[in-house]
């Protein structure tokens, strides 16, 4: 089989079999609403801290397996994080320390 990794990106699936689509409404989690609001603020004109196209590029760069398994807003926050690191708004160290701090709030004893 010819291996072609460049012609069609995984996310660019127009015209392919879609499979079964579940038509169900669902409520958004609080964190999903926060991610949505964060993007609105980050992409506003003053100051413009990232572009919607950066968001899309980051999402489209996910490996196919991750793209399939992550939820809509999980993809968003992955991409927003990358854009903020790239644009110099967050250092990897800051992100790492904050993630550890938040994680420590939820440490539970293993019974």
């Amino acid at each position: 089989m010819e291996r072609d990794f460049t012609r069609r990106s995984h996310h660019d699936m127009g015209g392919l079999e879609a499979g079964h689509i579940k038509h169900v409404e669902h409520d958004y989690e609080l964190w999903e609403k926060r991610v949505d609001a964060m993007l609105v603020l980050l992409t506003s004109k003053s100051p413009k801290l990232m572009s919607v196209d950066q968001l899309r590029k980051g999402i489209e760069s996910l490996p196919p397996d991750a793209y399939e398994k992550m939820s809509y807003y999980e993809r968003w926050i992955f991409s927003i994080t990358q854009a903020l690191q790239y644009n110099g708004l967050l250092t990897t160290e800051e992100l790492s320390r904050k993630l550890e701090e938040v994680q420590s709030r939820f440490e539970t004893e293993v019974v």
Binding site: T6, R7, S9, G15, S51, D53, Q54, R56, K57, E60
Partner: protein, 99 residues
């Protein structure tokens, strides 16, 4: 930036597949269609995607394709069309017959 194409002009979508953020869907690359309208001009999203917020503005067109030209196995009505919005740098002049 002045638009190169005008409504009615025959165009062909380039077959490129560069890495990055591409706004021209894969299924329409290489297809021939006609300019339906000039849809304004916008900063190049493929550059905005790399954080270059001052990217140059470039004309955007609504291009009309015959469904039969897009999908080789299309079995709907022969006159069915598909409109896709495509930036100028993805289009080349075409000598397609008038559709």
């Amino acid at each position: 930036m002045k638009a190169v194409f005008n409504p009615g002009d025959a165009v062909q979508v380039r077959r490129g597949s560069p890495p990055g953020h591409i706004r021209t869907p894969f299924y329409v690359r290489g297809c021939k269609g006609r300019i339906e309208r000039i849809a304004g001009e916008f900063r190049n999203p493929e550059e905005l995607a790399f954080g270059r917020f001052d990217a140059a503005k470039t004309p955007l067109y609504r291009v009309r394709f015959q469904q039969q030209d897009v999908w080789p196995d299309y079995n709907g009505n022969s006159g069915d069309t598909l409109d896709v919005e495509i930036f100028e740098f993805w289009l080349e002049p075409s000598t397609a017959d008038k559709t």
